[in-house]
Amino acid sequence: MPPRRNVSLWLLPMLAVSLLLSACGSSPQPGTGNTSAIAVVAAENFYGNIVQQIGGDRVSVTSILTDPTIDPHEYESNVQNAVAVSNARFVIKNGGGYDGWMDRLLAASPNTDRMVLTAYDVAPVKLPDNVHVWYSLEDIRAIARAIATSLKKLDSAHATVFDRNLQQFEQALMPVQQRIDTMKERYAGTAVGLTETIFLYQANPLGLKVLTPFEFQKAVAEGNDPPAGSIIETNDQVEQRLIKVLIYNAQTNTPVTTNLLNAAKRQRIPIVAVTETMPSAKTYQQWMLDQLVSLQHGLQQP
């Protein structure tokens, strides 16, 4: 075996390994110093938006899940996401198993200086088998307070700014709460259908009666096929016009839910779309208000 050929084959990996080892010593340079904006990474854009509202120009927010047309459960993070997390001083994620990819990104770039806020953990209202806590106004108020507390820890010099912005945000939520209260007065007890579990966080405060079997909603949320019996029951509710409105999660559509939507259209039952991820151009409060207004239109129809 010619030795020269052997050496040249080993040279490439050896060179690569030595390059790697030499670079191992250095670590990334996150934004330090109180004068520069805090680098924030939000797993979901609605949390990113709230951080933006509370942090103002003291934060620089990068949101990862920003597209309300894709299924967020099937998200695969890329290198750019990993770089952003690596450079972040504050990371906010939903948790509860919703965004496990973020946990992996955090574990791959350990950083003791980085603060991580898991919204699901601070949310006071948690429905069973339902991690979509950002749909509950009560939870969002608690999460916003937690965001303000975290920002104040990271940048104590601007504590008053964060407190003031927090107050403004809580006031901005009031029209949403008022809409929920008026709709409850008018439509409490109305029977509705849900394709997925997410809207339960508002259907309950609205006093709506959700007829769709929970196994159906839960299966759609978990990416599985619903049990056959629940599909039959759900379709019967539509065919027999037992529900006034069908509220569907536009991001978790499967052939089963598409069939249901078509059946509802045939029966002329109003269909209301809600999304898991916020439309990029809106604020959190605007998003929630717009969806409630659509729902009210649907409930108003004879």
């Binding site: 075996m1 050929r5 052997n6 084959l9 080993w10 490439l12 990996p13 690569a16 390994v17 390059l19 790697l20 670079a23 191992c24 250095s26 670590s27 990334p28 459960h73 099937e74 695969e76 993070s77 890329n78 290198v79 750019q80 990993a82 770089v83 997390v85 690596s86 509860g96 198993g97 919703y98 965004d99 496990g100 990819w101 992996r104 990104l105 574990a107 791959a108 770039s109 350990p110 088998d129 991690v131 299966a219 949320a221 978990e222 990416g223 599985n224 096929d225």
Partner: protein, 304 residues
């Protein structure tokens, strides 16, 4: 590009990816020589059920992967030598375990993100603990391969003569499949279950078309595997496309190129045992130096 190397997640990805590329290349070479590439593919799918089961039980998916793949590897090793029947049995078992995986996922309360994410690999989400585990298992596999290299080569090229010369061919087959199982479990982190071929078979398949001598072919396979992994990570960093896609594209692209450019060598004949008949006990065969005149090739599929 060198700014990338300062990120811990890139360092972890390169380290784990390199270790996996090395053991996958060596194991892949023997898989091809022994006609067991289908088993390598099957083991990854069987491993998926293990991972789903582990998620259901609340433990680490890699643990479930290891348990199921090693179990399946031992099972395949015990199945026996009749190749044609073995393919059918492996196929049936693979589909059963995949169905089990679906059941586990439907029983799990929540979205089993951990199980789905291993379908395509999680290389940029590898923590230091993962690197450590990969390193331990990779060194173990390498050590065993080093110790068993000659008997393994012997029994791959010439099982009957090896058996006659006292090489424990059956036990070696089982040990080898356990090594395949461990390698598959580690490789899943890099390219995922569905793309396991790209690191397990791709580099070795390309290498065996370019080099006949085992050591050269293995070294070439290692270099190719390392190159695909490093380039894959680099290309993924400059776009927002997944790492596993780039590794697969490189693996396939280079294999296609090599296959189109190199004609099938005359020394390779398809088929099974008959060509070995003229080897007698009196003519010793050194597996590392296959004699050109009688180089009829080990048991391989018709074309790979």
């Amino acid at each position: 590009m060198f700014t990338l190397l300062q990120y811990p997640f890139i360092q972890n990805a390169l380290l784990a990816g390199s270790l996996v590329a090395i053991i996958a290349a060596i194991i892949g070479y023997f898989l091809i020589m022994r006609g067991l590439t289908f088993a390598g593919h099957a083991l990854s799918h069987i491993g998926f059920a293990g991972a789903a089961g582990a998620v259901l039980l609340g433990t680490d998916p890699v643990f479930g992967l290891l348990v199921f793949t090693v179990g399946a590897g031992v099972g395949i090793g015990l199945l026996g030598k009749e190749l044609r029947e073995r393919d059918i049995v492996i196929g049936v078992i693979t589909t059963l375990t995949l169905a089990l995986g679906i059941l586990f996922l439907s029983l799990y309360r929540g979205y089993a993100e951990q199980a789905y994410s291993i379908l395509f690999g999680t290389i940029i989400g590898i923590s230091q603990t993962d690197v450590l585990i990969t390193m331990l298992f990779s060194i173990g596999v390498l050590a065993l391969l080093l110790v068993l290299f000659r008997p393994l080569l012997f029994s791959s090229f010439d099982p009957e003569v090896a058996q006659a010369r006292g090489v424990p061919v059956k036990s070696l087959a089982i040990i080898f499949l356990v090594l395949v199982a461990i390698t598959v479990s580690m490789s899943v982190q890099v390219v995922g279950i569905l793309l396991i071929f790209t690191l397990l078979v791709g580099p070795a398949a390309t290498a065996t078309r370019l080099a006949q001598r085992p050591l050269i072919a293995i070294l070439l396979a290692i270099v190719l595997g390392l190159a695909y992994t490093w380039l894959g990570i680099l290309l993924a960093a400059t776009t927002s496309w997944p790492v596993s896609f780039f590794i697969a594209a490189l693996s396939f692209g280079v294999y296609l190129l090599v296959r189109l450019l190199t004609p099938l060598r005359k020394v390779r004949t398809p088929g099974r045992i008959e060509p070995y008949r003229h080897h007698t006990l009196a003519s010793p065969v050194d597996p590392a130096q296959p004699r050109r005149a009688e180089m009829t090739g080990p048991r391989q599929n018709l074309s790979h």
